[in-house]
């Protein structure tokens, strides 16, 4: 399963990517929206884990742009923010809306669940 991680926190995204790789996932990551779009154009991903708040482009906007490039990808929002608006919008737009910090096993189960549901 190939995943794309998008989060402006480099430390977080690299570590999480490494942990997912250890668990057998193919993982690319980006810390900027433009890099994420670039990667999505070049590769096909089963699921995108992305932050809600990023400098310049919000998670929702990036999801919309990624959908234009790859319409069939699944999305999980993983964010440290939990405002009412984000929660409502995020939980409607993505398969799951998770708040940091999240246990890796829970994240993996949500990833599997999202991909399996889609298939």
């Amino acid at each position: 399963m190939r995943l794309l991680l998008v989060d402006d926190e480099n430390e977080f995204v690299t570590t999480l990517a490494e942990r997912l790789v250890i668990r057998g996932f193919e993982v690319d990551y980006a810390t900027k929206a433009v890099d994420a779009l670039d990667l999505a154009e070049k590769n096909r991903y089963d699921l995108v884990v992305l932050d809600m708040k990023m400098p310049g482009t919000s998670g929702l906007e990036l999801k919309y742009m990624l959908e234009q490039i790859r319409p069939n990808m699944k999305y999980i929002f993983l964010t440290g923010h939990g405002s009412e608006e984000d929660y409502v919008a995020g939980s409607q737009q993505a398969t799951h809306y998770l708040v940091k910090p999240v246990n890796i096993s829970i994240l993996i189960s949500k990833i599997n669940e999202a991909v399996d549901t889609h298939e």
Binding site: E9, E11, F12, T15, L16, E18, R19, I22, R23, K53, T79, G80, H81, G82, S83, E84, Y87, V99, K100, P101, V102, N103, I104
Partner: protein, 579 residues
């Protein structure tokens, strides 16, 4: 006393509190006093002023009317007495001119004349012919008065000078009060003779007695020396001295006021009878005369008292009602303002919590992932379990991160529900969330919290944020009421008969006094003003419960504890609670 307190308006029952941001901007007690004072001044001053004027005017009118009436009676009586005397004197003058002395010396002739006089006029008693020496030459009448010498009597001296005479009342030879009328005829040789008649003074008594005087009136004659000439009712006997000053001569009927010996005010009307020694006197008791005025005065004072009472009643009623309504409106205004402030404050706290949680969550997530990666590296390495102590430490880090995450997620959960939205609620979960914030404080203060949630509590539609505020306020209140080692018990039951859920929160704190029980849900009522209490917590809690279609009841015993009962409907009236 308790009945009086029941009718005591709210603003007078309000306990004055120290100055602070949530106090009233108006002193309603002072406004009430000023309004009543001004209303009383404006309404009572003109009324009292007009009443005093009317009082004086009526009093003067009645007094003037009495004086005038007495004066009129006096004038009429004077004319009548004067006419009585002059009529008889004229008859006497006619006879003395129409008859010669020889004819008058004839007893039969004189007797015939007397009979004619008595038939034409009343009052004639006898008739006598007197020579110029005062000796009675001829006499007809009931007494034996022939040959009597009148030369020493005053009337004889007067008739010699004036051709006629009206005497004062005297007893004379016959020992009966009478008065003498005499007319003189001067003959051509210069000698004269006098025709004299006695008039029964009782005729005056009858006449004066028939005047029908009101006010204990007394009418009688006195002479110019003040000797009483006719009987009086209250002012002395015949020939006694008149008890007041003899009036000075006046052609008119005079009236004056004096004080009698008993100290009573009297009105004295006096009139000099022309060509006679008599003064007509009418004495009336002023007190008696003013009786009609006293009746009017009682009515006037009664009207004034009733009017003032009604005005006082109406002013007190209206002003008190208006000020009380103003007070209640002000209470409502202040309550709304502070409720809004409170909501804004909560919303700000919510936003702040969300921001803090977000800021903490990101570094927590990095710690979580880094520690997780270390554990992964050790766990997935080719030589696993080389250092179990390291794995244990990493698990401890991950566990602590998870605890922090739970706290920040709970904060986010609270912040997320500050806005009013209806959603499916599991009440035990809501209470668990609230207790999650308070369990540390409970631990520090050694407060034991026990819960008893029935298994059949159904989920229902309600506003999570409002429910959180309700339970947070009440549990916080319970914590404030308890010292260390307190006990807080929370019970939730489903009442299927009226389809409600009742949460009972019982503490063993200080309790609420009976006097305070009726006020605890009023805005700004607080027993913790000195500790910074605003007195809005329970008021807002009550308002929130009402908004959700529920209610809050309370029972308490001073020194033993308090129970709050929060009743929530399974099917709330959504149109009232949803924005």
């Amino acid at each position: 006393m308790s009945i009086l307190i029941q009718f005591k308006p709210d603003f007078l029952q309000a306990v004055p509190t120290s100055d602070g941001p949530y106090r009233h901007s108006f002193n309603f007690r002072s406004i009430w006093k000023k309004a009543i004072l001004i209303a009383l001044l404006v309404s009572l001053c003109p009324l009292i002023f007009i009443t005093i004027i009317d009082y004086k005017f009526t009093q003067n009118s009645i007094q003037s009317e009495n004086l005038l009436r007495t004066q009129q009676v006096g004038s009429n009586a004077r004319r009548s007495i004067s006419f009585f005397l002059s009529e008889r004197l004229s008859a006497l003058s006619f006879i003395v001119r129409d008859n010669s002395i020889e004819e008058l010396k004839d007893p039969e002739k004189l007797k015939g004349i007397l009979q004619n006089l008595m038939a034409s006029f009343n009052g004639f008693v006898d008739l006598g012919l007197i020579d110029q020496n005062g000796v009675q030459l001829n006499y007809v009448g009931p007494y034996q008065l022939e040959g009597k010498d009148y030369s020493n009597q005053a009337w004889f001296q007067q008739v010699k000078d004036k051709n006629f005479s009206i005497s004062e009342v005297f007893v004379g030879f016959r020992n009966v009060p009478h008065l003498i009328l005499a007319a003189k005829y001067v003959m051509p040789d210069g000698s004269f003779f006098i025709l004299r008649t006695a008039i029964d003074s009782a005729r005056f008594d009858d006449f004066l007695g028939n005047l029908h005087l009101n006010g204990r009136g007394d009418a009688f004659l006195i002479n110019k020396s003040g000797i009483i000439q006719t009987p009086t009712l209250y002012h002395g006997n015949l020939f006694e001295q008149f008890p007041f000053a003899v009036p000075t001569y006046s052609i008119n009927t005079e009236i004056r006021e004096e004080i009698d010996k008993a100290g009573n005010e009297v009105i004295i009307c006096s009139a000099f009878i022309p060509e006679s020694p008599y003064i007509l006197i009418i004495v009336k008791q002023k007190d008696e005369l003013m009786k009609p005025w006293r009746a009017t005065r009682i009515k006037l004072i009664g009207f004034l008292v009733i009017s003032i009472s009604l005005i006082l009643l109406v002013i007190f009623g209206i002003v008190t009602n208006m000020v009380n309504n103003m007070y209640l409106l002000d209470q409502r205004r202040l309550s709304s303002v502070h409720k809004m402030e409170y909501s804004n404050k909560l919303a700000s706290i919510g936003r702040l919590s969300a921001g803090v949680a977000h800021e903490i969550n990101n570094p927590l997530a990095i710690i979580n992932e880094k520690a997780g990666l270390i554990k992964d590296i050790l766990s997935y390495s080719e030589t696993p379990g080389q250092n179990p102590r390291v794995i244990e430490l990493i698990d401890s880090v991950l566990s602590s991160v998870e605890r922090c995450g739970t706290i920040t997620k709970r904060l986010l959960g609270f912040a997320r529900h500050m806005d009013s939205t209806f959603e499916t609620i599991n009440l035990p979960n809501v209470i668990h969330d609230v207790l999650g914030f308070l369990h540390k404080e409970a631990e520090y203060r050694d407060i034991v919290i026990t819960t008893d949630f029935a298994d059949d509590i159904p989920e229902f539609k309600s506003d999570r944020g409002k429910l959180q505020q309700i339970f947070l306020n009440i549990i916080n209140n319970a914590f404030s009421a308890m010292k260390t080692a307190g006990r807080l018990n929370i019970v939730i039951r489903h009442h299927s008969d009226d389809n409600t859920i009742v949460a009972t929160i019982t503490d063993n704190g200080c309790g609420i006094s009976e006097g305070d029980m009726g006020k605890i849900f009023e805005p700004f009522f607080s027993t913790k003003t000195r500790q910074g209490g605003t007195g809005l917590g329970l008021s807002i809690t009550y308002g929130l419960a009402m908004e959700l279609g529920g209610k809050v009841n309370v029972t308490s015993k001073l020194g033993e504890g308090t129970s709050f009962f929060i009743t929530l409907p399974i099917n709330p009236p959504q149109q009232k609670t949803e924005k």
